[in-house]
Structure formats: structure tokens, C-alpha cells
């Protein structure tokens, strides 16, 4: 994955912490703004664009949901 270790839950929590300036205790649920932020940082980290649809994003309610969708999209991009 372009020299990057696999994306883990801890990475997403750390990214959310950058957004909220709140180092720990991130809420489990994420909204559209947090999601846009995560997509942006994951794309920068992996230096590629995630090919996502609105339906995929609409199905994301939690950090764990996001992790599954991002991992799938990154694996697809690795093809």
C-alpha cells in the first residue's frame, strides 16, 4: 500500500482527534463532516483517491463502519 502500513481503527481515531482537538474519547458515531475529513486524510496518507459512492458513505454510521469501507476501497485500488 504505497509504503503505508494497513489502515487501522487507531489511525481513524487519531485523524478524528486532529479535527476536534480532543485527543481521546472520540464519539463512536460520525457525521458527514467527520467522514469528509477521514476520506481526505486517508487519501493523503495513501496518496490515492478512494473510489466511493454516496450509498457507501450513507451506510457509514460509526468509526468501525468507516474502517471497513476504507479498507475495501484501498484493497480495490491495489487490485
Amino acid at each position: 500500500m504505497a509504503g503505508q502500513p494497513d489502515l487501522g481503527r487507531g489511525d481513524l481515531v487519531a485523524m478524528l482527534a486532529q479535527l476536534t482537538d480532543r485527543p481521546t474519547d472520540q464519539p463512536e458515531r460520525i457525521g458527514s463532516m467527520e467522514l469528509a475529513w477521514l476520506v481526505h486524510l486517508v487519501e493523503q496518507r495513501h496518496d490515492r483517491r478512494l473510489d466511493l459512492t454516496d450509498d457507501q458513505l450513507a451506510g457509514i454510521r460509526t468509526v468501525d463502519d468507516a474502517l471497513v469501507v476504507f479498507q475495501t476501497a484501498l484493497a480495490a485500488a491495489d487490485g
Binding site: 486532529q18 463532516m33 454516496d54
Partner: protein, 466 residues
Amino acid sequence: MNGNPSSRDSNAIDPDWVDDFLFTGKPTDVCLRLPDPVDRGTLHRLVAEAQTRLGAAGLRPGGAVALRLPPSLAYVVNLLATWRSGAQAILLDHRLTDHEADRALRRLTPQVVVAPVRTGGAALRVFVEVTEGVTPYGDRPAATDHAVVQLSSGSTGPSKVIGRTAADLVAEVRRYTQLDGVALPGERLILLPSMVHVLGLVGGLLYGLHAGVELVPPERLSGAAVLDAIGAADSPATVLGVPFHIGLLAATQLDRPLPMFARMITGGELVSAATVRSFTDRFGVPLGNMYGMTEVGVIGTDLHGRHRPGIVPAPGIEVREVAGELRVSCPASPYLGGADPSRWSSGWLHTRDAGTVDPDSGLVTIRGRLDSQVSVGGMKVDLTEVENTVAELPGVAAAVVVWDDGITAYVQPAGTLAEETLDHQLAERLASYKRPRTLRLLDQLPRTTTGKLVRSVDTLRTAGTS
């Protein structure tokens, strides 16, 4: 009012302002880049065609159209077509749930509803590809002569309804033209806020059309896409956004020089000095901010970032402080329905923002809210509305909703209640941006000795983790 009374209702709005004030300039001038250019002539033709569809669905001058569309060409076209038909536009955020939208429609009784039948494009679009459906709804005239009606999260449950006349919108656009530090004719506005809300609607769409500023929504909501939009032409580009977008840009690797990047302006809450520094260090352009409300539009600005945290009242706007609350000149009450003297009285809007006005410089400083309203990505959300919605759900005995770096709900169930059930019910009743980020189910909510619910964030946090 002229015309046949049977086909023209008493509140018909003079439609001429659309052509006289917004469609100025040459037909070949590009007004939107999506990214394909849309010129004024094309937009005007699309608007005329949409008027025919709205009329066929039952719209009459003096009626109202509810637009339940995401930011899109379809939204722009149907909005202008509504006004050009002498009708009122009711703007419903497309993220409202059916429950919220139905309640608004029953209250506002438009003649026609415009909503998507199909949306396309990839995720995180700022501007969406929409095929719209035009549906007859009612046959009553609009309740008022306002050109635009918007909902704002209300403090007592249902949303409060705000109306603005065409004259008021024109006056606000003229205020923008008098500000030093906005995009000028021939320049570009990289538009991030939704055109359904006041900043994107008036500061973006209407100002852009009137002043001859190209409106450029980035291809999608990402830092790279914003930089691409800035770099797509040589003419000066102003980025209009909310504080979230500053962070997004500051976290983006700059891979090329962008000499055309002129400035960024944000509405919404004030950003921290550290955020300002990280943005200006990276891009070397001014970061300005604006203060405004749905009720009156732009109230004050600091477009060069020289007065932070103060702002200068916009031309023609007076701001004064009464008992710690900022009041803004507003000749007529912007609220539909019964007058509420605690919100507007004698030509002054009671903002419910705490603040001060410096007697010497006239600079206004905002110091937070005096009520339970919070800002989520630039969207105003009243925590009381969220709390009432949670408390009224089946299976909920009591609820307290507070702001704790995000909307946080503490819920005391009546019997057994799964968090998932609660989540599901809330998703049916509240738009996504209003929903709690954190839900905590407690056997007993903390109460005072007299039995009142405790609202202290610290006490609730402790109760939620014990």
C-alpha cells in the same frame, strides 16, 4: 397588484428583480462552472423552461414552491424560476428527514414541491447531479409576500420559520458590493457552503450572479479538489467556506504555486488563532470572517483578518448591545406566524448572541450563544429541538442533550431500550447534522434534590462513565 385576481394571488412577488438585478451582464458571460461552463443565456433559458413546468404543476403568481433539493444546477434553476414566476421559494435542506420535511410542508402549504427523482455522481459532491420531479401539493397562496422562506432549528421543538423579501435580498447583495475584500467582477468564487443556506445563497449565488463573479463549486469536498478549483484558471479566486473547510485546506499538501488564490472567507463560528496561523503560514493569503444570521444575512465582516476577533458592521447595518446581547437593525420582523417580542421588537433583531460593541471603534465582538444553539459545520442546531425529539421517542423516560465537543445525548430508558433502536428512531426524525454523536443510556439521569434534570456537562460525563 395587477392582473386577473383568479389567477394571481394577493401576495404575488414582483418577478422583475430576477432579470433586472440577477441577470445583468452579457448572455455569453459564464456564471457557473460545474465544471462545464454555464453562461447567463443558458441559465436564463433553463429558468424559463422550469417556469413552464412549475406552472403546469399548478404554481400561480403569489403561490409558493418548496425546493427540497441538494445544491445543484436543478436547485439554482428552480429557485430562479420560482421567483421569476412571482412566487415564494421555501428552502428545505435536502438532509431533512421525511418526518421533518412533511411537518414543514403541512405548515407552509406550497402549491408545488420540487425534489430529486434521481441523483448521480460520486460521493462527497459539493454540487450534485439531480434530475428533479415537480409535484403539485396544494392550491393555497403563500402566507406572506416573502421571496424566500427558510427553517431554522427552533428553540421550542419545531423549527422557526424565517422569511425574507426580494427587497431584503437585494439590499443584502448591495451590502456585499460595498465590502472591501470580496470577490470582484470577473473574479471567481470557490463555493463550499450550501446555496440552500444564507451564506451560500446570498453571499455566493445571488452576489455572484449580480456582480458577475463566476461561481465554482469544487468537484467534491476535499482539500485537493478545492486547490484544483483554485488553480483551474488564472483569474483571482476567493474561497468561501465555514471553519471546517479551513482545517481541510490546512491539512492538504500544496503541490504547486497558486498565485491566483486571493483569499479565504468563512462564516460561522470564530476560528482559533492557531488555525488562522496554520492557514496563513501555508497559503500566505488573508483569512477573513463574516458574521451573519438567516434572518438578516451578513451583519459584519473582518475580511482582511485585521480585527480578529472583532468585526465591522456591514454597510447599513447597526449593531448594539443590550444587557450583554447583540441586537441588529432589522426593520420588519423576519418571523412567520405569531410575533415573539423576545426575538424581534421595534426594528431590532435579538440575536441571542452574547457580545460587545466597542464604543470608540464600533467593532463588534461575539462571545458565544445565550441560548442552547450550537453550530455544527456552520449549520445552526438548537439542542432543545434535539432534546425534545429524543425525549418524545417511545421507550424514553427522560433525556438531556448537551454540547460536549459534539452533540451528546444522555437517555434514561423506560424499560429496555437498545441503543440501536434509539439510533434508528432518531435517523427517522432528525437530519443527520442534528443527531447526537454520542449516546449514553443511563438507568437514572442525574437530578437535583428537587427532581430537575442536571445539565452540567461534568456531572453528566461522570454519570455516563461510572
